[in-house]
């Protein structure tokens, strides 16, 4: 998880990588990235050289989260065009071995989550997986806190409806 830690000194990119790389890979994966590691690495590569963000670990983490959100959103948008060229095989979203270890009810819920509009999915993932405040979610998504509330409540309602329809 992407937990924030108090800064004892200005962290290096290596420090931030050690602390947060795994969490950012998971965040990208939960947001639907097709190659979560690629996006997380790109986020760190973009952080390099941003000395102001690097001096403040909170700012750095917020920057990394926002970058992962943006990259995932843009990547998905671009891939929608590319993927039209080659039909997606069934079960592409998760590898078979990964699906096997998820409970049936979890799979159902995650499938419904994946069908939500991107912004609703982002709000729900960051609220219920990262336990972020609305302010932090708003920073990562680049929207207002009011918009976060709207996306989260609509997303939750849509999830409930989808699950009712399926069950």
């Amino acid at each position: 998880m992407l937990k924030q830690t108090p800064a004892q000194h200005a962290p290096t990119l290596g420090d931030l990588f050690t602390a947060h790389y795994g969490g950012l890979v998971r965040l990208a994966g939960l947001l639907g990235a097709d190659d979560p590691e690629d996006l997380a690495q790109e986020a760190f590569a973009r952080l390099h050289g941003r000395t102001r963000a690097l001096r403040d670990p909170h700012a750095a983490l917020a920057y990394l989260r926002a970058t992962v959100c943006n990259l995932t959103r843009n990547r998905a948008r671009h891939l929608r065009i590319v993927r039209l060229r080659t039909p997606r095989p069934a079960g592409h979203e998760a590898a078979a071995d990964q699906s096997a270890i998820l409970r049936e009810d979890h799979r159902e819920l995650l499938a419904a989550l994946a069908e939500l509009p991107t912004r609703q999915r982002e709000a729900l993932v960051m609220r219920y997986w990262l336990d972020l405040s609305e302010r932090a979610i708003a920073d990562a998504m680049g929207v207002s806190t009011g918009t976060v509330k709207t996306h989260a409540s609509r997303g939750l309602a849509a999830l409930a409806t989808k699950l009712e329809d399926k069950r």
Binding site: G22, L30, L84, W129
Partner: protein, 261 residues
Amino acid sequence: VTADLEEELRAALAAKADTFTVSPDAWQRTQRRRATRSPARRWAAPLAVAAATMTVATTALLMSGGRPATPPTTTPRTPARPPQATPSAPPRFLLTTDPPLGKIARMASPYGPGRTAFFWAGWGVVDSAHRKAKTVCDSTVAGMAQGGGCEEYRPLPPTRIAAMDGGDRWLAREADPRFDRDPAAYYPSNFGQAQAQVDKVTVVLPDGRRLPGAITSVEHLSDKFWWVVLPPERLTHVTILFADSKGRQLAALHETLIYVK
């Protein structure tokens, strides 16, 4: 109920998160990326790309065409303003990620408002392991909206006359409200490969209407590439006819159209 759902969601997300693993060389790969990065990345989003939203399921490739006609299921939305000037080049981001190996083939819209399709042979990264290979790139441009993609080039097998590679339908409202003024944004299109002997492409709509398609050769690619623009209606299916230079029909491609938006 909401509290239960929230707890269920927390548990599902936590379980799913545990399925993502990291590679042992992730730090080295990130450092390499920093050292060798270029200004534009293969998957960088275009500034004005409008996402494609129509998926196309190939139902059959037959040597004779036609299927019973049915009327269109919905009515078109009427655009408010005339088409804008058509750009003369494909989006820069595609030219950067997959530089052309030869000339860029350009086709004017065979039907509907002014649009342009570009096809070219490129050289670019084709998988997540960063392997490079010859690619085929396509880009359809409608006024301000630009989009496209590249993927590894695989010639058609000799037994197959034609195939559909993809399609697009501009998401004008979602991408940028300014696209709402662009009539071309409402016309979906399909494109694909065909054997070199194919010279003419025609699309047959469910109600029997016939629309011309376009086809072109592309330098460094053995197959030709075709493009059809469809009316802004929710069509259940179309038939695309392929003929040689003497007008003999060589193949018919039946496509079921599934609109995801």
